[in-house]
Symmetry: C2
Subunit: 320 residues, 2 copies
């Protein structure tokens, strides 16, 4: 039985009470403020980046490859770049046209693999359908895979006793939220809804590494609500707005909502608003801890990307 | 959603009724005869090996590395070598002393990696405690990893949409038994007891690839019997004799017992007998399908090793 890898320790101190909001009305759940928690993490990353620059005259570098013009990808990439700037991480974006070839993406990757000023590379997913995600990611240098999507990282995350170089950002953010909200994971029944390679699958591995009893629910699961309503911890990453109703949740359970879907709403400035997998209004009266959408897991994902990039730079530059 | 990799198809035809024994007394379960099923598989492997030899004048080669003198390892290795001989696969064993160094095991591995007459290499586990299993296995050439324990194989097994070069033998044998007993896995609730890297973990991935809803139970799980008794399929790989009692099992469930522990028994010739994780006498009256110990999963493991070695030789020699 091993604990989580060392790289985990950076930001795993417990949550200060001030960043948990107890709302004293009908709601019973603590609402975890991912934005505030992530700000604390970013601030300590900024301090580390400064210290690195002062000591060795170098800063971490992140390269982002974006293919096509997906509106959501553009927002995500913009947020990542902005977050890099704020903590002093150097960043650059390579934009490729939607109809580019696998070879073109690979050649961009190879260039960043060789660039010693780049310590983290990420390919913004999903790629256009004509590109084979696996073939593209296979080219990405393992030691710069800050998204942690390389199968060897996945294997090393799954296999107890092994240690991945990087833990995927969103799953890492979910576990950080659990740890920082004081939740003891060991021995708990945990359910992960969704089994994507990006979120569901690695989250299930992480929960298992923390010795939870984990069940993964997916499109072929019958009566999912029976399974979720027995769980102490529910992490939902299905991408289906309001799927998880109040009666899916055991009273007092901890609910982490990864789902972020745009739903049309003319009353909002952009004509839409972001909605989670969990029917928040119902769940907030049943759960003991819940994350909102937006402002829950989302900001944590970005903070974990910065953290992985910093860790990578420290490792490559042998800076402690 | 992908199906299992191509290498799966070799031996996945359904079970002929003759190899399932319905016992008409108090027992309600079909008892799967792993020995008989594996004989059928071995026989078709023998045919393929013959065809290969006739067409290209070559046969598959398996190298086994054994460190130390564990009595159980010696039995397992002897069985594997004997099984190779029976189907025409060339085999060789390198025995190293208990106190050998990591470098010595690695150098044996490197020699077999380079040997073109060897298509599969396995290191009999467990290794003596002073040897780092991970460091040793890292040297094993991925394309000869017929045990499927390399983390990249594990990662590719876990990640839906990826395909591992090899599926670990015991988990592959368990799924073969399920498929051959006509069990539909999709949508079923499956519980895997134990999360070893050799059996529990990869079995959970395989069941999930077949679209079961999978829960993994381990030492930190509270009230495991509550979880198992809701499952349609139980695969037990804990190595604890008679742990799974009759009341752990839902009436009509399918029970695959991987556990094989020696228990002292003066009435037996060797002074001991092999016992599974499942209390067979109780479970056989509750389950609808059950595997015995010995004679259930064990023979399937050896058959899958032969199958993996044949597949590897075909791939390396480009023989179809």
């Amino acid at each position: 039985m091993t604990d989580l890898p060392d790289i985990w320790s950076l930001s795993s101190s417990r949550l200060s009470v001030s960043s948990v909001h107890k709302i004293f009305n009908e709601q019973t759940a603590w609402v975890l403020d991912g934005k505030m928690i992530s700000m604390g993490i970013r601030s300590s990353i900024a301090g580390e980046v400064r210290r690195m620059e002062e000591c060795i005259g170098k800063v971490p570098g992140l390269a982002v490859i974006m293919v096509g013009q997906r509106w959501d990808s553009q927002i995500y990439v913009r947020n990542k770049i902005k977050a890099c700037e704020e903590v002093g991480i150097k960043s650059c974006v390579t934009e490729l046209p939607t109809d580019c070839t696998e070879a073109e993406v690979q050649s961009a990757l190879l260039r960043f693999n060789k660039d010693p000023s780049i310590h983290g590379i990420l390919v913004q997913l999903p790629l256009p359908q004509h590109l084979d995600e696996g073939k593209v990611l296979d080219v990405l240098g393992l030691e710069k895979d800050v998204d942690g999507f390389h199968p060897l990282n996945t294997g090393n995350l799954a296999v107890i006793g092994r240690e991945p170089l990087f833990i995927p950002c969103t799953p890492k953010g979910c576990i950080e939220l659990l740890i920082r909200s004081g939740v003891e994971i060991i021995g708990k029944k945990a359910v992960v809804i969704g089994r994507s390679n990006i979120v569901g699958l690695p989250t299930s591995f992480l929960l298992q590494r923390h010795h939870a009893t984990v069940t993964v629910i997916h499109a072929f699961t019958e009566n999912p609500e029976q399974i979720t309503s027995a769980a102490d911890i529910v992490v939902s990453a299905a991408g289906i707005p309001n799927m998880v109703r109040g009666n899916w949740i055991k009273p007092g359970a901890i609910v982490i909502d990864v789902g972020t879907s745009p739903v049309e709403d003319p009353s909002c400035e952009d004509g839409y608003r972001l909605v989670g997998d969990v029917c928040y209004e119902e769940a907030v009266n049943v759960a003991s801890v819940i994350t909102p959408v937006p402002g829950g897991v989302g900001p944590m994902t970005v903070a974990m990307l910065l953290s992985n990039t910093l860790d990578s730079a420290k490792r490559m530059l042998d800076f402690t």
